[in-house]
């Protein structure tokens, strides 16, 4: 066991830190990711990252990466969050689709899509959930029928994150109408500009539109844009689902960074407490530390998992445990912050409590609340943990 980083890794960290310090936009200078203008602001930053080879550090150099290992990726992420880097608009592509493309994509598909994804030129949305499917992917109804040189897609996808503004969409459709459940599904890579695609943005709680419904009406997709073979959609999609829940999406730095800010907020609050007469016994303090401890525990667990991955082990049902843990940690962390803020919590104005904007905590809370729901609800993940890690019988 060695919990230190090598000199090369430390050098890599310093290089990243230096570059990020100089290039990460100051807080608030990018407009909201869930608006058309903000979407473009974030794309521009992706381009900056890409040009300095920081957008996809673990990828092959041919596609714009640095070919570094998983530990270096974690180091980069730590530095990215430490520097206060903005949310990644290319996330669906680089974290969800890319691992699948690396595993199932043809050389042509990889060269065609990966660099454009890494540079922010093409932003992807995901087309998985359907109005009557939700977390139950196997009940998908959208269908694709064979046509000359390709397929015609028809149906409706919903909760497509980034769907309002994305250029491309990856999703699964039923290619064999007689097959049921997991069978007869195929994974497609779709150009959102194709005739027949209609996007209806979905307004969120805060009125912004990070999600969309996407309607497909005989949308043509060529045979080259089938990923992983006809009828193989379920297998390919499960690989992506693994990514979404697993290590590649949720770097611990995101939580440890927020936990640090939460501690600062508590310290600032404790100084005010005498004057305010609010909650003098500080019952909230324990919640704050609990959130901090969980964020740190998540980091340690990730390093352990990364070690396993690097040594060739597969991540199995632990990915479900991981999903439950980070999503609950994220909620607890933001909930503790909102409790500290008290009646100020609902205000959407920056006012510098604990060095952070109020609205950042509120935004973070709304975002965190979706954690237990997306990427397979935690209810489903708990079934997986119970059945596969504890051997409980299926219902």
């Amino acid at each position: 066991m060695d919990l230190t980083f090598s000199p090369d890794q430390e050098a890599f960290r310093m290089e990243a830190r230096t570059w990020l310090q100089a290039n990460v936009p100051s807080p608030g200078s990018l407009r909201s990711l869930d608006t058309a203008e903000g979407f473009e602001d974030h794309r521009a930053f992706e381009r900056t990252l890409f040009e300095a080879q920081w957008s996809v550090v673990s990828w092959p150099k041919a596609f714009g990466g640095r070919e570094v290992g998983i530990m270096e990726w974690l180091i980069f992420e730590e530095e990215y969050y430490r520097a206060g880097g903005p949310r990644r608009v290319s996330q669906n592509g680089i974290f969800l689709l890319a691992p699948t493309l690396f595993e199932f994509g043809t050389d042509a598909q990889q060269s065609r899509y990966l660099p454009a994804m890494a540079s922010g030129e093409e932003i992807w949305c995901q087309g998985w959930s359907e109005p009557d499917a939700g977390s139950d992917l196997a009940s998908i109804r959208s269908r694709a029928t064979k046509t000359e040189g390709g397929w015609l897609l028809t149906g409706q996808k919903t909760w497509c994150s980034r769907g309002a503004f994305a250029h491309r969409c990856f999703g699964i459709f039923r290619t064999d109408p007689s097959a049921e459940r997991h069978r007869g599904l195929t994974y497609f890579l779709i150009d959102m500009a194709t005739p027949g695609v209609t996007v209806r943005p979905i307004a969120q709680l805060d009125g912004e539109t990070g999600f969309a419904e996407v309607f497909f009406d005989d949308v043509f997709v060529s045979d080259e844009d089938v990923l992983g073979g006809i009828g193989e959609g379920w297998k390919v999609a499960m690989a992506t689902a693994g990514s979404e829940r697993g290590i590649s999406l949720r770097s611990p730095a995101r939580y440890t960074e927020a936990a640090g800010k939460l501690i600062d907020l508590l310290a600032a609050h404790s100084q005010e407490v005498g004057a305010l007469g609010l909650d003098p016994r500080g019952a909230i303090a324990d919640d704050v530390v609990k959130a901090y401890v969980d964020a740190e525990a998540y980091k340690l667990h990730t390093y352990m998992t990364a070690t396993k991955v690097r040594e060739g082990h597969k991540v199995g049902a632990e990915a479900s445990a991981t999903k439950i843990f980070w999503s609950e940690t994220d909620v607890n962390l933001h909930q503790a912050a909102l409790r500290l803020l008290g009646p100020d919590a609902e205000l959407m104005v920056p006012n510098g409590h604990g060095g952070l904007d109020l609205s950042d905590w509120l935004d973070g809370y709304l975002f965190a609340l979706s954690g237990p729901i997306y990427a397979g609800t935690n209810e489903i993940q708990r079934n997986v943990v119970a059945e596969r890690m504890l051997g409980l019988p299926r219902a």
């Binding site: 939700g134 009646p343 100020d344 205000l347 729901i373 708990r382």
Partner: protein, 362 residues
């Protein structure tokens, strides 16, 4: 010992509930949310329908133009207002401001006129703390600024300020103030900072006299927030129960999954046991019992926890649709988040209870 409402009380509550459900549908709320960015304040038609029932003067003595009833008659109505996420300040006007003004000497005419003119009213300038209340109004060259006032576009504003070390309570007209709306998650409560000028003419009480009224105003604010939270809690659970009964996954209603049932049942149980505490505090208030602080803190902490749990569970059982602006859940959820933290959150009230109980036992 008879811990239940009279038939008359239940009938009046039910009559108001009918008006509320006619006038404040989810469609009205959707429209209101859009509207609020343009012309804020209230839906005059709806407010007139409600206030026309005499609800705003419910606890005001009859000789001042009120109905001469008590907080026990009003508490269930506040619950109903919560259940429809009524954007207008019904409980604040009737329970907090008019409920207090009825006992302020010299206010008789003003109050009678306000009731008669179907005015809205609000109260601001104090934060609830575990051990005492902190005045939040700041003063700069004679202009007072009171932050985070809910229903900031009300006709009448009862505001607190400290001048030369003494608490002052002022009654200010809408025309005399500048309103600076504060962006917040729950638009329907219309938070804002009020800029106003305290004068001889607006002064209602000062010093220890004012402190006593402020104390009552704060207890009333917390209690009526608790009542609204009960209604919000009920509304969220009802909406969610109906959603999970309709919505199918893996071929069966989501609501038949044990995990969903248990989450919702847990929240329903919290509601069941919060309700009597709110009613008891209303009784304590109506009867001038000395345990008001303790009983209000019980009510607010239980109602806030119940509503928080209902909000979390409802969102979770809805899945992604609960996040959307178009679906109805968010109205009640945002309001519940806001009211749960307003006038002391559950923990602040529990901290106060601890002080009171330790004191009474030693």
């Amino acid at each position: 010992m008879r811990f239940s409402f009279t038939d008359e009380q239940l009938a009046f509550r039910s009559a108001v509930a009918d008006v509320l459900s006619d006038w404040c549908t989810p469609a009205d709320l959707h429209a209101r949310y859009v509207e609020l960015n343009a012309e804020a304040g209230r839906s005059h038609a709806r407010w007139n329908a409600l206030a026309g029932l005499g609800v705003t003067g419910l606890v005001v003595p009859e000789h001042l133009g009120g109905l001469g009833l008590t907080d026990l008659d009003l508490i269930g109505i506040a619950e109903e207002a919560g259940a429809v996420v009524l954007p207008e300040p019904l409980a604040t006007t009737a329970g907090v401001v008019f409920g207090t003004l009825g006992s302020v000497p010299g206010m008789e005419e003003r109050l009678a006129a306000a009731i008669d003119d179907l005015m809205t009213a609000t109260f601001g300038g104090v934060d609830f703390g575990a051990e005492r209340h902190r005045v939040s109004t700041t003063l700069n060259e004679g202009i007072a600024s009171t932050p985070r006032v809910a229903h900031c576009h009300a006709d009448l504003l009862l505001l607190v300020v400290v001048i030369d070390g003494a608490t002052e309570l002022h009654l200010v007209d809408r025309e005399e103030v500048t309103v600076d709306a504060t962006p917040a998650l729950d638009l329907t409560r219309e938070l804002g900072t009020i800029h106003w000028r305290p004068t001889e003419g607006t002064l209602l009480a000062s010093g220890s006299h004012a402190d006593r009224f402020v104390e009552q105003l704060v207890e009333r604010s917390a209690l009526y927030a608790a009542a609204e939270l009960l209604g919000l809690c009920q509304a969220m659970l009802t909406l969610t129960a109906s959603y999970v009964t309709e919505r199918k996954q893996f071929g069966v209603p989501v609501g038949s999954f044990q995990a969903v049932k248990h989450h919702l049942a847990g929240a329903r149980v919290r509601l069941e046991f919060a309700r009597p505490a709110v009613y008891r505090a209303a009784y304590t208030l109506a009867n001038g019992e000395p345990t008001l602080a303790h009983d209000v803190s019980m009510a607010k902490s239980l109602a806030a926890d119940a509503a928080d749990e209902a909000a979390r569970v409802s969102l979770q059982c809805h899945g992604a649709i609960g996040y959307t602006y178009e679906y109805d859940l968010h109205f009640a959820m945002k309001r519940a988040w806001g009211l749960s933290a307003a006038w002391g959150d559950a923990r602040s009230h529990r901290a106060r209870i601890l002080d009171l109980v330790v004191e009474s036992r030693s």
